[in-house]
């Protein structure tokens, strides 16, 4: 069986090997028809719990306002209130998750969104099932099964997510563009493998966020690239960052 067929059996296996080999990260990779891998970052129990609490408080608030409004309307008011309670209980998450943002207000507050586990936007059928199955997740009490399932699985799915094939992921956030421009580019002392180049670029990107002492420590580990093996200090750091700048193209 070819590698590709093998991967087709379980979308994740082959992809994980490509992008997250040997890491503790919980990244789920999804392959698009265009042949690229989207890296999805599942959200764990804690942010989802907070998001749930926010949604819960919003619902309670709406119910309280509705009680005040409907109580002056008599019989029809009570009916409207009961229907509203039903809608808040079952339709609130479904409606919000089907909107382009793919998230309830609580999830949006924590930059989470619901998508299908192949990276596609959520479909109505998936939104309905994942939210109706909340009943099953609630068992035996206080969302016991959901909590266990989210803690046990690396992709943090609850039962409803498993059945609907959905994932709750973090909205990707842009990482800061930092290029070491204040140092002079220096040609490396020896040819650098792609991995070495990536490590240097990552170091340069983090340089401004590290304390000078820590930066010196890290740069000392990479001192080979500028021909300073075994030495450390601000001067070595400057030269290593110079090589990083060269790698990034500043020559």
């Amino acid at each position: 069986m070819s590698a590709r067929q093998d991967r087709g059996h379980d979308g994740r296996q082959g992809l994980t090997a490509l992008s997250t080999q040997g890491t503790l990260d919980t990244v789920v990779a999804a392959e698009t028809p265009e042949g690229i891998l989207l890296e999805l970052r599942p959200a764990g129990l804690v942010p989802r719990f907070y998001a749930f609490m926010i949604d819960w408080m919003i619902r309670i608030a709406v119910m309280w306002v509705a009680i005040i409004v409907t109580s002056i309307m008599g019989g029809i008011g009570i009916a409207l209130w009961l229907i509203l309670v039903f809608a808040l209980e079952w339709l609130y998450p479904i409606a919000f998750e089907l909107m382009p943002s793919g998230a309830t207000p609580g999830k949006r507050a924590f930059e989470l969104k619901v998508i299908l586990d192949n990276g596609l936007p959520i479909t109505p059928a998936a939104a309905v099932t994942r939210n109706l199955l909340r009943t099953a997740d609630f068992l035996p009490f206080a969302f016991g099964l959901a909590i266990v399932s989210m803690l046990v699985r690396s992709d943090c799915k609850r039962l409803g997510d498993l059945a609907a094939g959905t994932l709750v992921v973090y909205e990707p956030r842009p990482s800061r563009k930092v290029v070491a421009t204040h140092v002079e580019a220096i040609a490396p002392a020896r040819p650098l493998s792609p991995q070495d180049q990536a490590a240097l670029a990552a170091l340069a990107a983090r340089a401004s966020r590290l304390t000078p002492e820590r930066l010196d420590e890290l740069a000392a580990m990479a001192a080979v690239v500028s021909g300073d093996r075994g030495r450390a200090g601000p001067e070595v750091t400057r030269r290593v960052l110079g090589v990083a700048r060269w790698v990034l193209g500043g020559r």
């Binding site: 009916a79 998508i115 936007p121 479909t123 199955l133 290029v179 990536a198």
Partner: protein
């Protein structure tokens, strides 16, 4: 020689154009000169270009911020391009005319099993309670039994509820909240190898049977049956169908066939979700009928039974024959 900086310079224009297009599609304000109209072809072409760039950048181990930006860009574009807006009036008509009844027939075996799980306890417990009425007390308390009896007494102002709640509207809201919740439970229970569905079906069936048997023995059958006959056509059908959807899910776990259990589960829920949309609609109809029609005391029983007959024929006919012609 190609370096990350050159790479970024060369394609920056395309990336910002795609970013602007995406902002325009998602209706975000404040993007750099927003394009007047969004061209789908342009969006798709740019998306494929950026996918290429991402693949190149990854293969060449370009800096993290560059790869991150491309990942974000392709991820956003992917969400926008594949977002489906297929719920409109036309879709709804297709659903009522074909999808829902076809889904019912597609799940015929599960519907039959769910119907059996519901009807058998109803009949069994019903007969048992009719034979020995004191058994009703093993299902409900003495007070509840008394209140049930009082609800269906011919002297009641309106049937099927206590006198205190005398507004049709209140009961309409109550039935929506209560009955649809029960149906959703029947479905969700399916996740436990179908046992939950069987339990809820059997439990609701047994409870209904017990009440029916008790009231029949008490001689209140005419008020009771004329009350339940009409909305039962919608309500019982809906409960059985949601149970069938649950059983489908449960069976997918027990016998996943050539798929893994996880995959079989996803396929099963995706297909049975169609049933749930229909179940919700049926229960909304049932709630309206129960609140505004079934409870009316001024209607002669003959009329009620007649309408009930029409409803049953309509519902069962719809499930059996609607949408058979291929279009």
């Amino acid at each position: 020689m190609m370096t990350p900086l050159r790479f970024e310079e060369m394609y920056e224009e395309e990336w910002t154009e795609l970013e602007a297009l995406l902002d325009a599609v998602r209706g975000r304000k404040g993007s750099v000169p927003p394009p007047a109209t969004v061209s789908g072809a342009r969006l798709a072409a740019l998306y494929r270009r950026v996918c290429e760039h991402l693949a190149l950048a990854r293969a060449r181990f370009y800096p993290v911020h560059l790869i991150d930006r491309l990942e974000r860009l392709t991820g956003d574009a992917h969400q926008v391009i594949y977002y489906r807006r297929d719920f409109g009036i036309a879709r709804l008509r297709e659903f009522v005319a074909a999808d829902f009844p076809r889904a019912i027939r597609q799940h015929a075996a599960y519907v039959a099993a769910a119907a059996a799980a519901f009807v058998l306890p109803t009949v069994l417990i019903g007969c048992l309670v009719y034979w020995r009425p004191e058994l009703i007390l093993s299902v409900v308390s003495v007070e509840q039994a008394a209140s049930i009896e009082q609800m269906y007494s011919p002297a009641a102002h309106s049937i099927g509820r206590e006198r205190s709640a005398n507004s049709d509207w209140i009961m309409f809201g109550y039935y929506i909240r209560n009955n649809i919740g029960v149906a959703f439970q029947c479905f969700a229970g399916g996740l436990f190898a179908g046992i939950g569905s069987l339990f809820f079906l059997g439990y609701n069936g047994a409870f209904g049977g017990a009440v029916a048997g008790y009231l029949t023995e008490r001689g209140l059958s005419s008020t009771f049956y004329s009350f339940v006959a009409t909305h039962a056509a919608f309500e019982l059908t809906a409960i059985v169908l949601s149970g069938a959807a649950g059983l489908r899910v449960g069976f997918a776990l027990l016998d996943p066939g050539r798929l893994t259990r996880a995959q079989a589960l996803v396929v099963a829920t995706r297909e049975s979700a169609v049933l749930l949309y229909g179940v919700t609609a049926l229960l909304l109809v049932a709630a309206a009928v129960e609140a505004f029609w079934s409870s009316a005391t001024w209607l002669p029983h003959g009329v009620k039974y007649g309408v009930a007959g029409v409803c049953w024929v309509a519902v069962l006919g719809y499930c059996t024959f609607q949408g058979r012609r291929a279009d």
